[in-house]
Symmetry: C2
């Protein structure tokens, strides 16, 4: 983080306008610029620095690479009563998600659960804004996607999997949902990039260098293979994400997405699987009991001083909504120079 004196404080509205202007200037359609900027603001607001304004750099780099169509219009297709696909047509994922969400919710409510396969999208954002949007509709949300093949399977040292995040949200009748969103890699790729940018060493269990030796050098890690979290269990989950959000939906695995990029350095292009579940179709008249049961579970966690997964993020959100967000001066200048 830069020295205090160089920080810039922006309101959420100012941040949104900054992001939107940059995107429009680089050829994004208003619909894409809005969808992307909403999510960039959410990331910065919640103090997820690697998913906030920082991502705008990669987003513009992706547009400049010529790989992404920043004006692509997503197209919806019904595949089955419980399955919807949204073809992003090589645009960014966020507008595709927003476009499909109402239909996904409708299917979840009528079928009990439903899946949305987002296809051919460029992806740079966290998944929690998406599962939170599902929870805001009173539904349970689950989302996952591959990325680029940066992560070695447990027992190996060469990259196969992406960082393959899994996100989940449970709607709570009062207040913020229960939400988690984590990479199945030991750490998010963005965190290693930030370490490299700032010249900081990384912990030894995050990655191998290109020769398969554990490394604390962030740049060597970016050239080598990241590791999964939780040993063989995290590795199994990473494989599941490749299968469900790649092979199942007929879109690229992380290896294929890497090959598709062909060194252009754009955001990964691949698919995404989103599942929505309607608790009312499972619980009927007992929906309130189900929610009360969940609340007792949360109380047993927080009652012993442990945190719920997104608690820190919701605290940051309240702060940012009140005080605005603090942007490191160097990042702010980089964004203005875009």
């Amino acid at each position: 983080m830069s020295d205090e004196s160089t920080e810039v404080v922006l309101s959420l509205d100012e941040l949104f306008s900054l992001s939107r202007d940059v995107l429009m200037r680089h050829g994004a359609s208003p619909a894409h610029a809005d969808a992307i900027s909403r999510v960039i603001v959410q990331g910065q607001r919640d103090e997820c620095h690697s998913h906030g304004l920082y991502r705008l750099l990669g987003c513009v780099r992706s547009i400049r690479s010529g790989k992404v169509d920043p004006r692509a219009e997503p197209t919806l297709r019904d595949l089955a009563p419980g399955v919807l696909s949204v073809d992003a047509n090589y645009g960014f994922s966020l507008l595709a998600f927003e476009t499909g969400l109402p239909r996904l919710a409708e299917k979840a409510r009528s079928q009990g659960l439903a899946a949305m396969a987002i296809k051919r999208c460029f992806h740079f954002s966290a998944l929690w804004p998406e599962v939170e949007a599902i929870a805001a509709l009173g539904l349970v949300g689950l989302a996952m996607n591959p990325s680029h093949s940066w992560v070695a399977p447990e027992g190996g040292k060469r990259p196969v999997f992406g960082t393959n995040p899994i996100a989940f949200a449970w709607p709570r009748p009062d207040g913020d949902p229960f939400v988690f969103d984590f990479a199945t890699s030991a750490i998010a790729r963005g965190d290693i990039e930030l370490h490299a940018r700032e010249g900081k060493p990384i912990p030894e269990h995050w990655a191998f260098d290109r020769d398969g030796a554990p490394t604390t050098d962030a740049r060597a890690a970016l050239d080598g293979a990241m590791r999964t979290f939780g040993g063989h269990k995290g590795s199994a989950l990473a494989a599941m994400v490749e299968l469900l959000a790649g092979a199942l939906i007929g879109d690229l695995t992380s290896m294929e997405s890497q090959a598709f990029d062909a060194g252009a350095g754009a955001s990964p292009c691949h698919g995404e699987l989103v599942i929505a579940i309607d608790p009312r179709r499972f619980l009927g008249d007992d929906a309130a009991d189900g929610h009360a049961r969940a609340e007792r579970l949360f109380d047993a966690v927080t009652g012993q001083g442990a945190r719920l997964p997104s608690q820190r993020r919701f605290e940051a959100r309240a702060r940012s909504e009140r005080d605005g967000v603090r942007i490191p001066g160097a990042l702010y200048r980089d964004v203005l120079a875009l």
Copy 2:
């Protein structure tokens, strides 16, 4: 493990008959005795020792506790086009699963994906036999359940979660499916029980004693709190299992299941969520391409010397089908004495 000379070698058929006879003698209906014995044989055959014949001891203890109805007939109910519930009526889970599976598969094929909520079942088995049964029908399977509150959330030291396994299977056109099944606890409860039974110490990161201190004493761990795997990520997944296979389906969380047992020492009574997905409804005419993509992923894992999650189990399976299974003498005598 007992000394070689005391081992007993049984064919899979002999093991099945042994298990079935013991269960029938303790009041199980033929349908329950068959369903349970099939799964016990599968566990022993695949050399999952904590889920093989050893489990028959707990199974009979559960029947003797008077909590389980060993003759209960499961009842099916349609909750939505994509959702089915199977009330086990306080019998063991396995017959409920078998009873609901054909309807679950039918729903997955017509809707694209479907969920089965198994309710009020006593549970002692691994989940991989279930997701493998789903994969054998050409469907993707996902299953999870709570257990008893034995596991502390990350950041806490008092038990809230169960060992909360998650199992997944991807059907492969040729040969064994891609399958994983792991506890979201650092280790399976059965493994700590086996360590206690054999007087062996456990690694320090598995559990806290009842005062919240890390312990290597298996009995102290059983009285204290196990830990989740993978830090906050495993803890988040454990919470998800409580929510999806407890609160969502209107059945007990692990804390409630523990309270329901009231010290009787029966297998945990709770629910289970099973999801089946039909790749053909996502891929249509491109199903072969989707499977080819999955195979390339598996090749990239095994091609660098890493194992697929169930590889060891499938190797044991081939051995056991050829040579029979080896049962430790002490366990064999305990089972005969039931």
